[in-house]
């Protein structure tokens, strides 16, 4: 889809300070952790234990990433931004999994594939920041973060092997239930 763009996005404003970049990075990881947690809850409510477990693991991993970024933020005063003031290229932060992309019969393989796509988006985001950065510290940090994301991409590619694709598409023989 061509995403709705916030007021800033049309102007291609770039990230020009380390605190600004860290604010973005922290938000990326926090929102990733929250989103995976939210999706895990959705899967739990819908009795898809395999997908739930997968999303919980992803949430835990993101939680570690949050801690890592927080360590980088020590002593740094981060700018307070409204959600629409961040410079994401898409509608949301790159690692916040698209809520519309999931399904209650989602297989772990599909979940990993989706997560993989988001990690790749995160890497692309940081490379873009690096490319437009005017200050050396910003460029360096952005490249560092991009490389970490590339690492995450590789992990997830490995996971794809662990969770092979199903041969047949999952199907639910029961019709939808009326709820009132």
């Amino acid at each position: 889809m061509s995403p709705s763009k916030g007021p800033n996005k049309g102007r291609r404003r770039a990230i020009h300070s380390v605190p600004e970049l860290l604010a973005h990075a922290l938000t990326i990881e926090r929102e990733a952790e929250e989103r995976y947690g939210e999706l895990a809850d959705q899967m739990a409510t819908h009795n898809n234990t395999a997908a739930e477990e997968l999303f919980r693991r992803l949430a835990q991993i993101e939680s570690r990433h949050v801690t890592q970024i927080q360590e980088l933020c020590v002593g740094v005063e981060l700018p307070q931004r409204a959600p629409w003031e961040f410079l994401w290229r898409g509608a949301e932060s790159p690692e916040a999994m698209d809520l519309a992309a999931v399904h209650y019969l989602l297989s772990p393989h599909e979940a990993v594939r989706l997560a993989l796509g988001h990690e790749a988006k995160a890497e692309e985001f940081y490379r873009g920041v690096a490319g437009r950065a005017r200050l050396v510290p910003v460029r360096q940090l952005a490249l560092q973060l991009a490389d970490e994301e590339a690492e995450h991409v590789r992990w997830l590619q490995d996971w794809l092997q662990r969770y092979p694709a199903q041969e047949t598409v999952a199907e639910d023989p029961d019709p939808p239930m009326e709820q009132g």
Binding site: S4, G6, Q42, W84, A91, A100, E178, Q179, G180
Partner: protein
């Protein structure tokens, strides 16, 4: 109990309750839930300052999923509940949530009069053009040729309801349309809607993954509206009459129509003084 200044700054997740939604994964309403929590943070409100009122339907389940005060009323009657609450408690931020059936079928009459009355409320309608909770019947916003319901196998063959046009004509003071494919944009619009005085109407295109899988195509059909809002109702009306329903992401109309409020008494008196009228 903490004094307000000592409480930690709230994050979006503080506005979620510990009740997990029963919506199908992939439902557009999740975006609205997220957007509301983000909006409440940006507005600087605390959960107890907010009341979320709903009717009946999938999207009307939202109050329980938020940590604010909530009211899950009967089908179609969220707007009067919210009206009474806001007039009795003008200090509260009152948000009304619901779907297209709840709001425009059984609730249609109250919708008209809520727009007219222009009390300071924000009404967020999650429009999926179907009755999800009762297994997929056509709703007032369903296209006349949709044949997916057993109740109307040849389509409704009725002109769909146009909520934004009707809302504008009836007196709503703020009108916007958003898409659940952009939750951050929804949050931004909600902040503006709540901040604008009077009755604010926000239509969310919120696909139903279970009964309207065809609506997955919406994300490619929606586009950012090409012009900003107008304060001229006639201009807004012309835009809406030529609108195809997929212009999203911006405010369409911001009016300055008079807001219905509880005025202070011009001749206040005590309860005992009321007796004087009857005393001989």
């Amino acid at each position: 109990m903490d004094a307000p200044a000592e409480r930690k700054k709230l994050a979006a997740r503080d506005f979620k309750s510990d009740i997990k939604p029963i919506w199908c994964p992939g439902c557009g309403d999740y975006a609205v839930l997220n957007a509301l929590t983000k909006a409440f943070v940006e507005l600087g409100r605390t959960p107890e300052q907010i009341a979320v009122v709903s009717g009946i339907g999938c999207s009307s389940r939202i109050p329980a999923y938020l940590s604010a005060y909530g009211f899950h009323g009967v089908h179609g009657r969220a707007l009067p509940i919210a009206t009474g609450l806001k007039l009795a408690r003008p200090d509260l931020t009152v948000v009304v949530t619901g779907g297209d059936g709840d709001g425009f079928s059984i609730g249609g009459n109250h919708f008209l009069h809520a727009c007219r009355r222009n009390v300071d409320l924000t009404y967020i309608v999650m429009d999926n053009q179907v009755y999800g909770m009762t297994k997929g019947q056509a709703s007032p916003t369903t296209a006349p040729d949709w044949e997916g319901s057993k109740l109307t196998p040849e389509g409704t063959r009725i002109n769909p309801f146009q909520p934004l046009v009707i809302g504008l004509a009836s007196g709503a003071n703020f009108i916007a349309r958003v898409s659940s494919s952009d939750p951050i944009n929804i949050a931004q619009i909600i902040v503006q809607a709540i901040g604008h005085p009077g009755f604010s109407l926000v239509q969310v295109l919120s696909p139903c993954i279970t009964f309207r899988p065809d609506q997955q195509a919406w994300r490619d059909q929606v586009r950012t509206a090409s012009v900003d809002f107008t304060g001229d109702a006639a201009r807004a009306a012309r835009r809406l009459m030529t609108d195809d329903g997929f212009n999203v992401g911006k405010v369409l109309f911001k009016g300055n129509r008079p807001v219905f409020e509880h005025d202070a008494a011009t001749k206040p008196c005590s309860v005992a003084e009321l007796d004087l009228e009857f005393a001989l």
